[in-house]
């Protein structure tokens, strides 16, 4: 059983890293949505594989934008550089 001090220290650390907990899901879902939409459009418009590739690319760009928004401290937040 951890000491109370250890528990509060761990809880405080978890609060600090909370924005990081969704990174993996956000990335996978954003890329997945891009792939699914691209694949579906390809089948509908018979343009395979170009819209799928476009979907992958858009999904990746979206995923990285969302990633950097989560991990970079907002301007003026006063965090350490």
């Amino acid at each position: 059983m951890p000491e109370p001090a250890d528990r509060s220290s761990f809880a405080e650390a978890m609060r600090k890293v909370a924005p990081y907990l969704n990174l993996g899901w956000n990335f996978a879902i954003t890329v997945g949505v891009g792939v699914a939409v691209g694949w579906w459009l390809d089948r509908w418009l018979k343009t395979s594989p170009w819209l799928l590739l476009g979907g992958i690319l858009l999904g990746m760009v979206g995923a990285f934008v969302s990633f950097f928004r989560a991990v970079m401290p907002p301007k003026g937040a006063g965090g350490k550089p």
């Binding site: 405080e12 650390a13 990174l23 350490k80």
Partner: protein
């Protein structure tokens, strides 16, 4: 000799160190041996280093020209570069263990698991150094990373250590996902994840599909995280500050060198046929890392954060070596490789020395990791101040130190490959970096001491500082031996088998 037998023969260092790690784990359960585990771990790494060094001697110097170096179905290779870096990882591990011996007592976390984890992390690094397939590199990368996630959070009662470990773990897991995604795209585009087979396909004139380029970009992102290159550096300052200082020393040197070996194998071997695509990408990463790393380091008051940003800048310098390798001329490519290997070896000894000094200032009532904690060091311990002076000058790249030799070779390689603009950016950044390194020197020699408590030195720490200091001075003044050793190692970067 069958492929399996040859593989096991070539894998002796990894096998020995793995068994040794488990042996230490077992030994640490017996209270009577607990205080010896650290020393035994250093001895185990030394034995493994002996096995690594025995390869060139057992096979004569032919090991540097042999063509049949691949094993385990071309998943791994034992070439000069692999041997060179395996030696570097083991040396870094030995020095890290030496500085950990008393430090862990001060922090109250002395245990055998710590040393076992260091051994396992080194095994991961050695697998990475030999990896010739994205999958074998991945296995090594993960073995190393998982050990580091635990080591960074080793101070369980410390909030900063917990936070650092969680951030490092989550971002590390993310970058792992990105690596696997990139590898899967490459496999779907080319039908292989073997780097030498990829290189052979490019030589046969296979076109570059968009999927392949996306895969290559994702691998760059993932490896960018591992070497803490801008803009994938956000984990480094927090992880370096929160981790136990001895772990930070190991993380900032050996783990970075291991990630750069993977970088070299992937780009200078597998993706050499796509050099026009990755060259601009790495150039942007390099310039951004040098510039942002150095300018951010100027603002730091905490020594560990300052060295973290400095290591981000140094990752930018090392990337120049890989950029130079994009040139088709064999001679220029080898110059890039030589400069990169030389720089990583030298940087390992400088940074371990600098972190050893931070460990020395750590006492039960003082973290000792602020720049002001170095105030008046010259009056209280002239030898310690001299050692730190050499490490800081070496990091800044001042002549007669090892750091100068490393930077000079990178500069010369960039000029030879007609990347003069990159060399100029590097020199300008070195000038900026001199400011924050010399600030530490100014505190040591011009400021009064902060307190009169004696510094916490131990035989292990003194030995580690002494080795790093001797290396920095000797290589700074007589660099020929190290340069010749590195030159021999690169003669044998395997060709497509």
């Amino acid at each position: 000799m069958s492929d399996l037998a040859q593989g096991l023969y070539f894998l002796r260092p990894e096998l020995l160190l793995s068994f040794y790690g488990f042996f230490l784990l077992l030994l640490s359960t017996l209270p009577v041996f607990r205080r010896w585990v650290g020393g035994l771990a250093a001895l185990g790494c030394l034995l493994t280093l002996g096995v690594v060094l025995s390869f060139p001697y057992q096979q004569g110097m032919n090991v540097f020209q042999a063509s049949d170096l691949f094993f385990f179905g071309n998943l791994m290779i034992l070439d000069g570069m692999a041997l060179f870096f395996k030696g570097a990882f083991l040396l870094a591990a030995i020095l890290s263990i030496l500085i950990s011996l008393r430090y862990l007592d001060t922090e109250g976390v002395q245990s055998g698991e710590y040393y076992s984890l260091i051994c396992f992390a080194v095994v991961g690094m050695m697998i990475m150094a030999s990896g010739t397939d994205l999958l074998s590199i991945f296995v090594g990368l993960e073995l190393m990373a998982i050990c580091f996630y635990i080591l960074v959070g080793y101070l369980r009662g410390n909030r900063k250590s917990n936070e650092a470990a969680m951030k490092y773990f989550l971002l590390g897991a993310f970058s792992t996902g990105v690596f696997v995604y990139g590898a899967s795209l490459i496999y779907s585009a080319k039908g292989t994840t073997n780097l030498y087979q990829l290189a052979a396909r490019f030589e046969q004139g296979d076109p570059h599909s968009p999927l392949l380029i996306l895969g290559m970009i994702l691998l760059t992102v993932s490896l960018g995280f591992k070497v803490a290159a801008v803009p994938f550096h956000m984990w480094a300052p927090d992880a370096y500050e929160g981790a136990p200082t001895a772990v930070t020393a190991f993380l900032s040197t050996a783990s970075k060198a291991a990630a750069f070996v993977a970088f070299v194998r992937i780009y200078a071997v597998g993706f050499l046929g796509m050099r026009d695509q990755w060259l601009p990408l790495l150039a942007v990463l390099s310039v951004a890392s040098m510039t942002l790393g150095n300018t951010s380091a100027l603002l730091q008051d905490n020594m560990k954060r300052m060295l973290a940003y400095s290591s981000i800048a140094h990752a930018g310098y090392v990337l120049i070596g890989i950029i130079v390798m994009s040139r088709p001329e064999v001679d220029t490519m080898q110059t890039g490789m030589l400069s990169l290997m030389l720089y990583l070896m030298i940087y390992t000894f400088i940074n371990l020395g600098a972190f050893s000094m931070v460990v020395m200032l750590r006492r039960e009532n003082l973290a000792g990791d602020r720049v002001v904690d170095f105030s008046g060091l010259h009056q209280r311990s002239p030898m310690a101040a001299f050692a730190m002076l050499v490490f800081m000058l070496s990091l800044a790249g001042i002549p007669a130190t090892a750091g100068f030799i490393g930077k000079y070779y990178l500069f010369a390689a960039a000029m030879k490959a007609h990347f003069a603009w990159l060399a100029v950016v590097m020199v300008l950044n070195s000038v900026v970096s001199a400011f924050y390194y010399l600030r530490v020197v100014w505190h040591m020699y011009q400021k009064p001491p902060v307190d009169s408590v004696r510094y916490a030195v131990s035989p292990g720490l003194v030995a580690a500082v002494g080795i790093c200091l001797a290396f920095n001075l000797l290589v700074g003044i007589f660099p020929e031996t190290l340069i010749e050793l590195t030159r021999r190692s690169i003669l044998m970067l395997g060709r497509a088998g």
